[in-house]
């Protein structure tokens, strides 16, 4: 088999659609195209039946009580917004305090920022170098005014898996609603809304080899029953939680993606982990001063986030342009600030600029990993030869002792 370029190693950003998912979706564009809300004819009934099956399938993957607890949305950003603002709207009378972490996705952080503007108080719990939040720190942040805790299942940059069960135990004891942004972890690490006492969970189809533009919010219906203030008004779809005509083909594809993960997820995670470890082993054997960002054990199987000291991330990405990865370097964003996740983990800013995120997924091969490892090794060597920092470090100069002129 010949290697096809470019190699896609950015599976945290999005994943390719699994052909089996596409196949499941196709009839719902042209044949069974009905509106799932049409109650008066067979077109509507067929669409509705497909959607209800999909609900049940998705509920099964996260061990929800029933499909009725699944609210379909346009994606996880909407799910996060609906969960956080919806809880704030419905329970704001009870208290105006929310607890989250500094490493959440922007959809959570910016929803919290919005609440702050509306008079809520938000506590942003920090994480250490490990990139894993301490459940005790969450527990300590809870007050009698806290109505919501929002913590992600796995971080999108460093892949660190958060102690959801331990946090869920504490929020349940306190009677605080617990929202989990489960986008990155679902199907890759155990996630069980019952066992972990999760009340709300955001998930997305396109991160699990499903289509873009469809997501879901799990909303617990018993012990406790969670209520939300709807953020999208209209025809009262999704039990009044989210109006708008359902994206039937998208939902069918989403459910198919979940079904594949339910069946193959464990085996797949082992295979992907082996590829990740192969990449990591090759890199650290060949190159000195490669730093792993975040805990290596509590981590998604497909994630490798490393800093190649003295090599700037965007510069390296340009050198490996046949490989799709991403970097925490400032240069990759319009803001010119390096990754807030890496900085909040206490990473040296220079090392944050040197970080590369490899995201390995279902369709990556050993051959691709070997190609990427060899390419990265040769380019890091070349760029270090060009790096004044590397030369100084090799001469034993402490880079921190130099008075750098900030610009």
């Amino acid at each position: 088999m010949t290697l096809k370029l470019p190699v896609y190693l950015d599976n945290h950003a999005t994943t390719p659609l699994d052909p089996r998912v596409l196949e499941a979706m196709l009839p719902y564009f042209t044949q069974d195209f009905g509106n799932a809300a049409s109650r008066t004819h067979a077109f509507g009934w067929r669409a509705e039946a497909a959607v209800e099956d999909a609900r049940d399938g998705i509920a099964r993957l996260i061990n929800a009580e029933s499909g009725k607890e699944i609210v379909f949305t346009s994606g996880a950003t909407e799910s996060d917004n609906l969960a956080i603002k919806g809880v704030a709207e419905y329970y704001g009378e009870k208290g105006k305090h929310v607890v989250t972490t500094v490493i959440e996705h922007k959809a959570v952080l910016d929803s919290c920022k919005r609440l702050e503007k509306e008079g809520f108080e938000v506590t942003y719990v920090g994480v250490g170098k490990s990139g894993v939040v301490d459940p005790e720190d969450i527990a300590k942040a809870l007050t009698d005014k806290t109505i919501l805790v929002s913590v992600m299942l796995a971080n999108n940059e460093v892949g660190t898996i958060q102690p959801i069960a331990e946090i869920g135990k504490r929020t349940r004891e306190k009677g605080v609603i617990f929202h989990v942004d489960a986008v990155q972890g679902i199907g890759k690490t155990p996630f069980d809304v019952k066992a972990m006492n999760v009340d709300l969970a955001s998930i997305s189809a396109h991160k699990i080899y499903g289509p873009k533009g469809v997501g879901a919010l799990y909303v617990r219906r018993s012990r406790p029953r969670v209520r939300l203030g709807a953020q999208m008004d209209g025809g009262g779809h999704e039990r009044g939680n989210r109006s708008g005509t359902l994206n039937v083909p998208g939902i069918v594809g989403f459910a198919k993606a979940c079904e594949i993960l339910e069946r193959e997820g464990v085996e797949e995670a082992a295979r992907i982990r082996a590829l990740r470890d192969r990449l990591y082993d090759k890199l650290v054997k060949a190159l000195p001063r490669v730093i792993v960002n975040g805990d290596m054990q509590q981590r998604l199987p497909g994630n490798l986030n490393v800093s190649f000291e003295c090599v700037e991330g965007e510069g390296l990405m340009m050198a490996i342009k046949d490989v799709a990865v991403s970097s925490g370097s400032a240069c990759t964003s319009a803001s010119l600030e390096p990754s807030y996740v890496l900085r909040s983990m206490g990473l040296d800013e220079a090392d944050a600029h040197s970080s590369i995120r490899f995201g390995i997924g279902r369709f990556n091969t050993e051959e691709e990993i070997d190609y990427v490892a060899d390419l990265v090794i040769s380019k890091v060597r070349k760029l270090r030869e060009m790096s004044p920092l590397w030369e100084m470090q090799q001469q034993g100069i402490d880079l921190k002792s130099i008075q750098w002129a900030a610009h």
């Binding site: 700037e312 965007e314 340009m318 319009a334 390096p338 030869e385 920092l389 900030a406 610009h407």
Partner: protein, 146 residues
């Protein structure tokens, strides 16, 4: 981000990568930027007795545009007098490499590196002159004003 062909060309074939001995009296060194900001350039010039830049070297930690800006700068510096070199403006580098607005700071850094290397050379030369030349009075007419 899409890079211009010239940035890619310089990035893939960087000119004059390397180092001169910074203690050499003929060499001026400029080290600008900061690791925390994601770019550091070290630019060096070797200047002859006529004040003409004979050779230049660079090493850069940074993105493709930063590497291309410094590579281009070393190319332009060779054969220029110190005065001419001091006249290289960041906008000339940005224009030559078609840098987008978000990358203009790379050209600014290259200009700073050139100025800093020239300054370093001049300081070293002034120190050398002060040590080896006859008393100041006798040669006062040759000194530049200020």
């Amino acid at each position: 981000m899409a890079y211009s062909d010239k940035v890619i060309e310089h990035y893939e074939n960087p000119r004059n990568v390397g180092a001169f001995d910074a203690s050499d009296p003929e060499v001026g060194t400029g080290l600008v930027g900061a690791p925390a900001c994601g770019d550091v350039m070290r630019l060096q010039i070797r200047v002859d007795d006529e004040g003409v830049i004979q050779d230049a070297r660079f090493k850069t930690f940074g993105c493709g545009s930063a590497i291309a800006s410094s590579s281009l700068a070393t190319e332009w510096l060779k054969g220029k007098s110190l005065e001419e070199a001091g006249g290289i403006h960041n906008s000339m580098i940005a224009e030559e490499l078609s840098l987008p607005p978000v990358k203009i700071h790379c050209s600014v850094l290259a200009e700073d590196a050139i100025k800093s290397a020239i300054e370093d050379y001049k300081q070293k030369r002034a120190a050398r002159v002060a040590l080896s030349e006859p008393p100041a009075l006798a040669r006062a007419e040759e000194r530049p004003a200020g």
